[in-house]
Amino acid sequence: MIAIEFIIPVIMAAIFIFGLFKGVNVFNAFVEGAKEGLLIMFKIAPVIIGLVAAISMFKASGGLDVIVYALSVPARLLSIPKEILPMAVMRPVSGSGALALLNNICKTYGADSFVGRISSVLAASTETTLYTIGIYMGSAGIKKTGATLPASLIAELFAIIMAVFSVRLFFH
């Protein structure tokens, strides 16, 4: 797996080389861009702090267990293994939380198990919905997000069903 890890430096180098080839003052451009990056960070830092704090509170309140319990019956009807539910609920809420749960599942049931594979596919196929919406909409000053949240959550549900289906299709 060494080759894969080189991709990022390779892409960076390729862009720099292309820039040099096109006569761009690479150093100046880089500094200009990095400065813009810093400004963007300033813009979104308040949103991130608020979101992380809110999610930390959610985790501490034990609300996750209640939601998982509520979802266990419909999950069984859709033949979704209940072991993936905690991670599935966490995924749109917290990326690091979801990865921690994924690690847990792989440790407990095995990374190549039915449950391990489904969780891996689910984790790789969706983003942390709340963060993304919060940052994108928050940075542009949008308060009325309209259909964004419902559409994303429906897509998350779809992803769960699809993850189970695709693992069944490819592996069992």
Partner: protein
Amino acid sequence: MSGLILFSVIFGLINGQGSAVSKAVVDGAGEGITLCISMAGIICLWTGVMKVGEKSGLMDLFSKFLKPVTRLLFPKLKEGSEAHKYICMNMAANFFGLGNAATPFGIKAMSALAKQAGEKGKATRDMVIFTVLNTASIQFIPTTIAAIRSANGSKAPFEILPAVWMTSVLTAVCGVIVAIILCGRMNKNDCD
């Protein structure tokens, strides 16, 4: 976000986790700023690199390449506008699994779209579709997930690739279709 906080506070109190929730506020805020600091490094690095790409005409190349896709998803979007440029770079970065490069472009794209928008503070259809697209990550190579699998003894961490491609693409399609349906009014850029 306020809904989440309200739910956590009320539920936490009912659940007897009041003190845990209080602690979580402080811890969470600290976590948040730490996250920002660590994010800042990699994001600045990538925005710097991407500026080189922008000045060397690489971004325009991607814009041309992605025109058919953007024409389909954002029919009201003017090709060659700032918003279009940033949307294309965001899509390209996401595809190559460069989430930290994609985010700044996504934010810039949203600002550019907001400038074009009618009602201030309200998401237009383009914004909704763009954001939903970003919540469904279409990653070519899910390196982080593979690393976790490998650390837990997987014999073939990347074997899930076809399943991931299938799931993520279909999820993105589902999200966009639902967003379009919920937004209604195909001929305007409003989203209700």
